[in-house]
Amino acid sequence: MYDGGLMNWPLVPQQFVTGILNGGTIGLIALGIVLIYKSSEVFNFAHGHLVMFGAFLTWWFTGGGAEPGAGLIDLPLWAAVIAALIVSMGIGLLIERFALRPMTGQPLLAIMLMTLGLAQLFEGATAVLFGVELKSNFPAPFSPSDVLIIPFPGAFGDAIRLKYTLVATFGVAVLAAVVFIWFFNSTKTGLAMRATAEDHEVARSVGIKVSRVFGLSWGIAGVIATLGGVLLATVSGVSLNLSTVALIAFPAILLGGLESLGGALLGGFAIGLVQALVQASRLIEVRNSSEIAPYLLLLVVLLIRPEGLFGQKRIERI
């Protein structure tokens, strides 16, 4: 297959598109973390576990692997997703009220550890509620073998093959992200959230209830996480590994900048692209190098431009 160059050129256009499509989901997951960070300056390390928990919830609502008709609850996929979204919104509200609100004013490390503790709790709770083994029977709307073929006349193998699942997840992810960014920028609630992100004191003085905004942003983050979880699950099945897969969102956030919603989405695309291009390059001869490439990129970003592409540079005073 190889002709000795660094890149396996015939694969590049294919992987380029696949990377962008995967990046949509990563960007959507990253968006949920950035939202919470913007409104309450809490970096949510438990987001990956919310993603995983959401995927498990959806799987459970569709019948939980029982025989069709025999399960306690047996909803079609769309209804299961909606049910899981509602439950995860409730979970987000509960987390804010009982875990994060008592931590207001605590140092960074304490808040970070609180979210890490939450992550551990979710890890255990998911295992005890749903079991530890991989659920490969997630009811995806397309079978993984359905392929969309775009003719690509010329040198690159004449066509680009895209899995329908990837195209669909990309569509949903980007649609959700756009709706969400519109909500944040153009509705009254979204404006209240932006004001809170800017300055808590000032937001209070113009009559915004800051604690409600925090709750709301955690609720929305729960919804986004579950949506991301469903999208990841349609591609790779439901398992406890989804939380680790979702950690890929961290490099995306840092690349885009912690304060930028659009940056998170673009960062997601970039990370997806990097992973895919590593797969198309010579580097793939070292096994699983596409899994580590985002973290190497993360180190490079931290060393060159810690505030990310679209983040704000912070000025410190004593």
């Binding site: 970096f43 875990a99 008592p102 931590m103 605590q106 960074l108 490390l109 304490a110 970070m112 550890l113 609180m114 890490l116 503790g117 939450l118 992550a119 551990q120 709790l121 979710f122 890890e123 255990g124 709770a125 998911t126 295992a127 005890v128 749903f130 079991g131 530890v132 083994e133 961290f250 840092l254 070292v286 096994r287 699983n288 190098s289 899994e291 580590i292 973290y295 190497l296 993360l298 180190l299 931290l302 060393l303 810690p306 410190e316 004593i318």
Partner: protein
């Protein structure tokens, strides 16, 4: 420290003494006696648990220097343990060195790797630094799985580690090996007690409390942050080498993942950040809590055999997560602060409240 009126030191030696009162000598003597005779009266399970507690304390002591004293959040302590474990194992297997020479060399190797990732600390801080260490926590185990397969065990994620020998004593039995962990722990504890109350420790604390102010006072930020990283990674390397030789294997198969790093941070916070007693209390608390959750999981798994797979694995993270969250909400200064309050209450009675 709260002391009653009229209780003051009369000489410099008295002021600097670690053991100030008769009961300090008694407490230290009795606990040392109990620790050193443990293999004589404890059963194998107890000794193994004590051994695990001892080397985990060493790793958490390192994290305490970095996160507790210097305030640099680190999510990569377990990865540095892995470096130390591999370094010691490879030195023993391939260079033929005895374990007791490989151990300090492994600590230095881990310290050197720690310095590399510590370089990021000058550029970034806060959770940006946490991300840099998170990257280290992913990259180091990945390297151990996918590079130098003939030395590092490849994708199996494990190599076998020989049993240390000294004089005619074979340290294969955990009741013998326990003494290695115990002696190393004693040495690190004495060193760290003195680090925390000398120039180095005070510089660390000033970096934590306000790094810009510390720099204005003449603390070289870069040098001191790197020293903190070096000490932390070195102690992690020591702990990793001891763990590798006591488990007779090292690799990603034996843990050393992000989860372990998070648990170390949790132990530190539950014990008390920036206190010398903290690592002891926190590690003992969490290890006992893990045993308790295994016990409970076992009982429930026996009661519901069809769910045993999920019951056995899920109690540890649940208990740990809940304990960590409760401590952060109700006692963010940890168990050692409780201990301080208890002592102050005793000393100042009957004016405690």
């Amino acid at each position: 420290m709260l002391r009653p009126a009229g209780d003051f030191d009369r000489s410099y030696e008295q002021d600097m003494a670690l053991l100030r009162r008769p009961w300090h000598y008694w407490l230290l003597g009795i606990s040392l006696l109990a620790a050193f005779t443990l293999p004589l009266w404890g059963d194998a399970y107890l000794v193994a648990t004590a051994n695990q507690i001892a080397y985990t304390i060493i790793a958490v002591q390192g994290l305490n220097i970095l996160t507790g004293y210097t305030g640099q959040i680190s999510l990569s302590q377990a990865a540095f343990m892995l470096v130390g474990g591999y370094a010691s194992a490879l030195l023993v297997i391939h260079a033929g060195l005895p374990f007791f020479i490989a151990l300090p060399l492994a600590a230095l190797a881990a310290g050197a790797i720690g310095l590399i990732f510590g370089l990021a600390s000058l550029r970034v801080k806060g959770f940006y630094l946490a991300f840099a260490t998170l990257a280290a926590q992913f990259i180091i185990p990945w390297l151990s799985r996918h590079t130098f397969k003939e030395y590092l065990g490849g994708a199996n994620g494990a190599i076998e580690v020989p049993v240390p020998q000294l004089g005619g004593v074979n340290f294969g039995e955990v009741s013998n090996f326990f003494y290695i962990s115990l002696v190393v722990l004693l040495i690190t504890t004495i060193l760290l007690f003195n680090v925390s109350r000398t120039r180095l420790g005070r510089a660390f604390v000033s970096v934590r409390d306000n790094d810009l102010a510390a720099e204005l006072l003449g603390v070289n930020l870069f040098a001191y942050k790197l020293r903190a990283f070096f000490i932390a990674a070195m102690l992690a390397g020591l702990a990793g080498a001891i763990k590798a030789h006591s488990q007779r294997g090292v690799g990603t198969e034996f843990g050393y993942g992000l989860n372990e790093s998070i648990i170390f941070l949790g132990m530190l916070v539950i014990g008390g950040l920036g206190t010398n007693l903290g690592p002891f209390l926190g590690v003992a608390f969490i290890v006992l809590l893990e045993d308790l959750s295994d016990l409970l999981g076992g009982v429930l798994a026996a009661a519901f055999p069809e769910l045993s797979g999920q019951l056995l694995t899920s109690f540890r993270p649940i208990f740990f997560g809940v304990a960590l969250m409760l401590f952060l909400i109700y006692e963010p200064r940890g168990l050692s602060h409780r201990w301080q309050l208890l002592r102050a209450g005793w000393r100042l009675r009957p004016f405690t409240r």
